[in-house]
C-alpha cells in the first residue's frame, strides 16, 4: 500500500490498530485510542534538557588522572552509547512512522527519537571537552570490531522491517523479485517483522545501556567525571521512559488489547522474542569482558557487572511475560539506584556542583533562637 502523508480516508482513529491500519491523517490529541502514549509524550516533554546546561569542564582534569585501563573503559562506553543513540535517533522514525495508524503513537515515536538526538548531542559535548579533536573517537565507532558487531545485532531487525515495508509500499502484497531475490510479502510476515523489531528495541532500551551506566556511576561514586555522570543520569531517566513505551506496546499486543493478529504473533514468536533478549544479555556480558580486558576499575569488575546485567534482565524480561531466567535475586550494585532515581536528577547552570539543588526552595522554619544575636 502506497504511503501517503495525509490520507484522504475519513477514518476513526479510535478504531485503528497501533500499526498497519490506515495512515494517520489529522494530528489530533483530544481523544486517544491508547491514552498512555499521550501521557508519555507529556512526561517526556517535561524532562526536556540540554547538554550545555551541565558543566563538564572539571571532567577534563579528572580524565588526565585516570589510569590507561580506566580511560579505555570510559571512552569505549561513550563510543558504544554514541552508536546506540545514533541508531535510536533515527530508526524508530524511519521504521515505525510509515506504518503507525494512531496519532498519539506517531507523536510519541517522534518525541522519543528527538530525545535520542539530544543524547547524541550530549556525547559530542562530553567528547569535545575531553579532546581537542574527537574525530578519532567517532571514526573508531565504525571501525572497532567490538562495536561493529553490536551495531549489526541492533540494526538488523530495524533494517529487515524497513526493507519489507518498502517492498510492501511500492509493490503491494504478493511475491516480488528484487535484484534477483524473491520476497513473499504478506501482512502476517510484515507484522511478524514488526513484532521482532519491537522486541529488539525493547531489549536495547532495557539492558544495552546499563553496563555503561554502571561504569559511569562507579566513576561518580569516586567523585570522578561527575559532569559526565550528571548527563548520563538525565539520559538514564529518558531511557527508562522509552522502555516503558515499548513494554506497553508489547503488552497491548500480547494481551489482545490492540490488533488480534498481533496477539497470535506474540504467542507464536514468544521463543524468538526470548532469544532476542537472551542474546542481548550475552552481548552485554561480552562487552563487559572487552571493557575490563586491560584491567579493572575500583568498585567494579567483570563478574559483578555480568551479574548486574542478569539482575536487570530478570526484571525487564518478566515485565513482558518472558519470566526470570537468571538466578540473581538481589541487586549486586545497590548504589546504582541512587543515580537512577528521578528526584535526584536536577540540572541548572548554577548548581553543577550541588546535585540536590531545588529551584524556589525556602526554609520557612523560624525559631526564637534565630534572633538571638539581633540588637535593636
Amino acid at each position: 500500500m502506497k504511503y501517503t502523508t495525509f490520507s484522504p480516508v475519513n477514518n476513526d482513529a479510535l478504531t485503528e490498530p497501533m500499526f498497519f491500519g490506515n495512515p494517520v491523517n489529522v494530528a489530533r490529541y483530544d481523544q486517544q485510542k491508547h491514552a498512555i502514549f499521550e501521557k508519555l509524550i507529556e512526561k517526556q516533554i517535561s524532562f526536556f534538557w540540554r547538554p550545555e546546561e551541565v558543566d563538564v569542564s572539571k571532567d577534563r582534569l579528572d580524565f588526565q588522572q585516570l589510569s590507561d585501563s580506566e580511560k579505555h573503559i570510559f571512552i569505549s562506553n561513550l563510543k558504544y552509547q554514541t552508536l546506540l543513540d545514533s541508531v535510536q535517533g533515527r530508526s524508530p522514525n524511519i521504521a515505525f512512522l510509515p506504518i503507525i495508524s494512531i496519532p498519539e503513537l506517531e507523536t510519541w515515536v517522534e518525541t522519543w527519537s528527538f530525545f535520542e538526538t539530544i543524547h547524541s548531542r550530549s556525547y559530542t559535548h562530553i567528547l569535545r571537552n575531553l579532546f581537542t579533536d574527537p574525530s578519532e573517537i567517532f571514526s573508531d565507532i565504525v571501525d572497532n570490531q567490538h562495536i561493529k558487531k553490536r551495531a549489526e545485532d541492533i540494526s538488523q531487525y530495524y533494517d529487515d522491517l524497513i526493507f519489507y515495508t518498502q517492498i510492501w509500499q511500492t509493490h503491494g502484497l504478493g511475491e516480488h523479485t528484487i535484484q534477483g531475490e524473491t520476497y513473499n510479502i504478506t501482512m502476517r510476515e510484515l507484522k511478524k517483522k514488526l513484532y521482532l523489531c519491537m522486541n529488539s528495541v525493547n531489549a536495547l532500551e532495557a539492558i544495552r545501556f546499563y553496563v555503561s551506566f554502571a561504569c559511569t556511576f562507579a566513576f561518580a561514586e569516586r567523585e570522578l567525571m561527575e559532569g559526565n555522570s550528571k548527563i548520563i543520569r538525565l539520559i538514564a531517566r529518558d531511557e527508562n521512559l522509552h522502555l516503558t513505551s515499548t513494554q506497553h506496546i508489547l503488552n497491548l499486543w500480547a494481551k489482545g488489547k490492540d490488533d488480534p493478529e498481533m496477539a497470535e504473533i506474540a504467542e507464536e514468536c514468544k521463543e524468538e522474542a526470548a532469544q532476542i533478549f537472551m542474546s542481548a544479555v550475552e552481548q552485554e556480558k561480552q562487552w563487559a569482558h572487552y571493557l575490563f580486558e586491560r584491567g579493572s576499575m575500583i568498585g567494579l569488575n567483570q563478574d559483578i557487572l555480568c551479574q548486574y546485567v542478569e539482575f536487570i534482565a530478570n526484571h525487564r524480561m518478566s515485565a513482558i511475560g518472558l519470566g526470570q531466567p537468571f538466578e540473581v535475586t538481589s541487586n549486586p550494585l545497590p548504589w546504582m539506584n541512587n543515580y537512577l532515581h528521578s528526584d535526584n536528577v536536577q540540572v541548572a547552570p548554577q548548581e553543577s556542583e550541588i546535585s540536590s539543588y531545588l529551584v524556589g526552595q525556602i526554609d520557612s522554619e523560624v525559631n526564637a533562637d534565630d534572633f538571638g544575636d539581633f540588637d535593636l
Partner: protein, 88 residues
C-alpha cells in the same frame, strides 16, 4: 476502614506500617528493611512492580509504567487496607 495503620504481608513476612499521608508504600517497605528494587520512584519506569495478592492501594501519582491487572507500583501508591504483596 479508613485507619492509618495496616498490616502488610510481604513474601511470608508480616510487617506493620503506619500510613502517613505523604509516604508511599515503597518508602514504608524500605523503612521496614524489605528489599525492593526501584529506579525512578515516580511511577514511570516500572522497576518496583509488585504483585498485589489481596487488599487495596490508592495512587498518589498516576502510574505510567506498564503494570498487569494484579500488579501495583509501590513507588506511587499507598495502602488503604491491610495488604498481601509479593515482590518480584
Amino acid at each position: 476502614m479508613n485507619k492509618d495503620r495496616y498490616q502488610v504481608l510481604v513474601s511470608g513476612k508480616e510487617i506493620a506500617i503506619k500510613q502517613e499521608p505523604d509516604k508511599t508504600l515503597l518508602e514504608n517497605l524500605e523503612d521496614n528493611k524489605v528489599e525492593i528494587h526501584s529506579h525512578c520512584r515516580e511511577g514511570f519506569c516500572g522497576t518496583c512492580r509488585t504483585r498485589l495478592i489481596s487488599g487495596e492501594v490508592d495512587y498518589i501519582i498516576d502510574p505510567l509504567a506498564y503494570i498487569d491487572d494484579d500488579e501495583i507500583l509501590p513507588c506511587c501508591c499507598k495502602a488503604v487496607s491491610d495488604i498481601t504483596i509479593e515482590i518480584n
